[in-house]
């Protein structure tokens, strides 16, 4: 009996291993094509109300007057950026005089879908979705379209399948953010120097996109050398540890690019500990308040590319959609470069992010 069961265990394990490894090979090609960045500026207007609806567009219910109720499905609410999105959405809803219902997907695509279904059941006039679930959220998008409710996608991955229905997609262009950082560094170094790049979680979409923008752009400058390229997992502590090692291995570093500010702070700590703050400058991304304070008050942290967390535009688009106004299908939010020259224009001590 014992032997028999054991052999069953072994064969099952083997079968699982075979099934899994046999199929693993083809898994990569389909997931790689996630980003087709829209070229800067604005895209073509949606065909809603127009004559020939383009792929992905659909007819939705509008309301010329009366109260507006908008649902906001947030993917997760344990990260400052995502919380700031929700807070700003509440604020602009109050300003626009509309009712806002916020749901929290708790990082689980099933909960996100459930929430969106509940919003449909609640008969909201428009739904704003901020998702991190890639393609797994698409069925929910389709349900929103079937219910003829205008769908605004905010700060999520770009739907890469043209049959995925939505009314407008609002986000900063992460690729462009990477490009801007590269151009800024080149200018600052007069096209010559040694730089360190610290990525976020390497497989995350945003890290991939920022890298896609940054690397080809920086490689255009032959005399700028990337002496180290490592991951800091989006967090302060790992970035500090990684930077400590990099500092030991490299005598000459001019600039560190951290893919977000949190990692930038970690890198700066490491640089300070090594006593090399005169030599090395740090550049971050996201432009969170703490980073802006460092830019304003110090000399080390020189620049951060803003990543828009405000949901203002998304909500205004939702309201416009409900009122039947024509709407742009792709809205690229501004991602300005913030350094000492323009810090006062962007620094707000009362900002939530």
């Amino acid at each position: 009996m014992k032997k028999k069961s054991l052999s069953i265990v072994f064969t099952s394990v083997l079968a699982f291993a075979l099934v899994v490894t046999g199929c693993g090979k083809s898994s990569n090609d389909s997931s790689a094509s996630s980003a087709a960045p829209a070229s800067g500026g604005s895209a073509s207007p949606a065909a809603s109300g127009g004559a020939a609806p383009a792929a992905g567009s659909y007819e939705y219910k509008t309301k010329a007057e009366g109260d507006i109720k908008i649902g906001f499905s947030q993917a997760v609410m344990n990260h400052p950026f995502r919380i700031a999105m929700v807070e700003s959405a509440k604020k602009s809803a109050a300003e626009l005089g509309i009712e806002l219902i916020v749901t929290d997907g708790q990082g689980d695509v099933n909960k996100e879908i459930s929430n969106i279904e509940s919003l449909i059941a609640r008969k909201v006039d428009a739904i704003v979705v901020s998702s991190l679930s890639g393609k797994a959220i698409y069925p929910a998008y389709k349900q929103v379209a079937e219910a003829k409710i205008p769908l605004i996608i905010a700060a999520s991955g770009v739907p890469d399948d043209e049959n995925i229905p939505y009314v407008s997609y609002v986000a900063t262009d992460e690729v462009q953010m990477g490009q801007q950082a590269a151009q800024y560094i080149a200018k600052m170094l007069n096209n010559k120097g040694n730089i360190v790049v610290i990525d976020g979680v390497p497989e995350s979409t945003n890290s991939e996109l920022r890298r896609q923008g940054f690397m080809p752009e920086i490689e255009k400058f032959a005399d700028i050398k990337v002496v180290a390229h490592q991951s800091g997992d989006w967090l302060r502590l790992p970035a500090m540890q990684v930077m400590t090692n990099i500092l030991q291995a490299n005598d000459k570093i001019d600039v560190v690019l951290a893919q977000n500010d949190e990692m930038g702070f970690g890198a700066m700590e490491a640089i300070k500990k090594a006593g090399r703050e005169k030599e090395i400058k740090v550049i971050g991304m996201d432009a969170q308040k703490e980073a802006l304070e460092l830019i304003k008050n110090g000399d080390n942290y020189v620049m951060s590319v803003k990543n828009e967390w405000s949901s203002d535009t998304a909500l205004k688009l939702a309201v416009d959609a409900v009122r039947g106004k024509p709407i742009e299908k792709r809205v690229v939010l501004e991602a300005p470069v913030i350094d000492k020259t323009n810090i006062d224009q962007y620094y707000d001590p009362n900002s939530i992010f």
């Binding site: 069961s5 699982f16 389909s30 997931s31 219902i101 990082g107 689980d108 059941a121 497989e203």
Partner: protein, 327 residues
């Protein structure tokens, strides 16, 4: 005299012998009954089926979890098995395997993983908590390695998506599967020798062994079934979304084991084993799903659901404990 119990008495007896279930039912009925006060859109056919579909995954996993808890064990790997099965089914679909074969293969994978858990526990004489925690982490790691940590989407054929998104009449297929499994599970637990043996093993392993029950076989089967139920839920989720998404922030199906344990405990089961029903586990899952769904209609702070759910779990445990003390 006792043979001539009227329906009133019989109902009274049922309520007495299933106090937790009766209380839960009452609570759920009250919530649903007063829901129109908050929002007229809550009690609609659309939302009812939404709600049932939303809880179907947890409810199905809870059946397997209940079995392991009944024999005094636990299975922390169910969420990870769901993820592994989700990934496997999407990969197999990408490789143009026929849908019926995918279903069979991934259910076998679930059972195989359950069997590994069971074998380690039974033959390695190890604690179920530690074993399934270990296999959970291994399975999580494997899915991340295989998927490269990225989402995978197959161009799934409609026949596959139909499993997760389809309807019979107006009832979603996952809901039908859930009710069928609840019915079958209840019949097996209450009306068969195997079911009695599960309760016996959980109440007193030694006594069960001495009375001729093959304890090890029961344990192995229970962990296999737990893997199977997790696999069914994983398959339904994969078919619902048509894509595999790795757990992003420690939530996701990664929290499924805790949801299932909560459902089972709220449903009146004891972690010491030997006590609990599938009906109770279903009601537990229904209550937490109801709260989650209702949040959107009440405009409550999303964070509050976890608070309420935790309070209900504690209340359930306190209720059971106070009953024990009275005895």
């Amino acid at each position: 005299m006792e043979l001539k119990l009227g329906w009133r008495n019989r109902l009274g007896f049922m309520i007495k012998s299933h106090q937790e279930e009766s209380l839960l039912t009452l609570l759920i009925v009250i919530i649903i009954a007063i829901s129109p006060i908050f929002s007229p859109d809550f009690f609609t056919e659309y939302n009812l089926y939404n709600l049932l579909r939303q809880i179907s995954y947890t409810a199905i996993v809870s059946i397997g979890m209940l079995l392991t808890i009944l024999i005094g064990g636990i299975d922390l790997s169910v969420g990870s098995i769901m993820q592994a099965v989700g990934l496997s089914s999407i990969l197999l679909i990408q490789n143009d395997m026929p849908v019926w074969l995918v279903v069979i293969v991934v259910l076998l994978i679930g059972m195989a993983l359950g069997l590994i858990n069971g074998s380690l526990i039974v033959y390695g004489l190890l604690q179920p908590f530690i074993v399934t925690l270990g296999t959970k982490i291994i399975i999580d790691g494997s899915t991340l390695v295989i998927s490269d940590g990225k989402g995978v989407s197959g161009n799934a054929p409609d026949s596959f998506l139909e499993i997760g998104a389809g309807h019979v009449g107006s009832v979603p297929i996952p809901v039908i599967i859930m009710f069928v499994l609840i019915f079958l599970g209840s019949v097996v637990l209450n009306r068969t020798v195997f079911g009695r043996q599960i309760y016996a093993v959980g109440s007193n392993q030694l006594a069960a062994h001495n009375s001729g029950i093959h304890v090890k076989k029961i344990q192995l089967l229970v962990y296999m079934l737990s893997g199977l139920f997790a696999a069914i839920a994983g398959l339904l989720v994969a078919a619902r979304t048509g894509a595999f998404q790795p757990i992003t922030v420690g939530g996701g199906a990664g929290g499924m084991e805790l949801n299932a344990i909560a459902a089972v405990v709220v449903g009146g089961a004891s972690l010491a084993g030997g006590k609990g029903t599938i009906g109770g586990a279903f009601l537990g899952a229904l209550l937490s799903g109801l709260l989650f769904n209702l949040l959107v209609f009440l405009d409550l702070n999303p964070y509050i659901q976890q608070f309420v759910l935790g309070a209900i779990v504690l209340a359930a445990v306190i209720f059971s404990a106070s009953k024990r003390r009275k005895r």
